[in-house]
Symmetry: C2
Subunit: 146 residues, 2 copies
């Protein structure tokens, strides 16, 4: 706990544990030179690799393949002014290995819609950061050190 | 409704109406050349201007003042595979006019923590986009045209 701002930095394993409790996160990337953000459901490997299941024709895939992106999850109780947020930052890559694709088709995140020519995207957990808010103490993300 | 992907584009006024129903959004910006995202509470003007209240010493302020940022809100029901997301994209600027600062101190978003030397940041609604998901139809954000 930092006494100046009222939030607690989370260790990597705590970040990954919290991420696994929510079904939807937000991928942050650049589209046409502008910041872009999109909610998506996701899977999470034990090592923190984020897995997305999308369509080969997706604009998202064209924008993020090979790029460094951020993937954010959070759970905030606005009434209690408490909650947490976790961000995984790393390179996004389309899974091209047929064996890995086949494995992910069975074990990876579900698709919420049947799509043709599905692809999987991995986001490497090069940086995993998170913080927990203590109820009634701080403005979420807009505290003095945000 | 686009029959190919199962989500419905939202008109600007509908986007703003939905944004006003949630207390927390996520500001998307660039920090040290990396994509960054942070949940924050916010206020919303009738014209779609997003208002944040933060500290003069905030790292966030240094990163976003004068930059184009995205501000995302959403509300997703993962069980029903339905919900919506809205993104406001525009230039963030610190409010420097004393009269406007005084006005926002009374009418702007609350701070969840007492902070010294508070600042307000405006995000101009240069682009307002949103979409609604229809239950059971599509993967949120990872549909064929995402």
């Amino acid at each position: 706990m930092n006494p100046n701002d009222g939030f607690r930095e989370l260790a990597r394993q705590e970040c990954l544990r919290l991420m696994a409790t929510v079904p939807v996160g937000r991928i942050v990337y650049t589209r046409r030179a502008l910041p872009a953000v999109l909610p998506v459901n996701f899977g999470l490997d034990d090592d923190g690799t984020v897995l997305l299941r999308t369509s080969a024709t997706s604009e998202l895939v064209r924008a993020i393949d090979g790029a460094v992106v951020a993937f954010e999850t959070d759970d905030v109780d606005a009434d209690r002014h408490s909650g947490w947020s976790v961000v995984v930052t790393g390179t996004a890559t389309v899974v091209t290995d047929p064996a890995e694709h086949e494995c992910l088709s069975r074990t990876g995140p579900d698709s919420w819609v049947p799509a043709q020519r599905e692809l999987f995207v991995r986001i490497e957990p090069e940086l995993v950061t998170g913080r927990e808010l203590v109820g009634g103490r701080t403005l979420y993300g807009v505290g003095p050190t945000a």
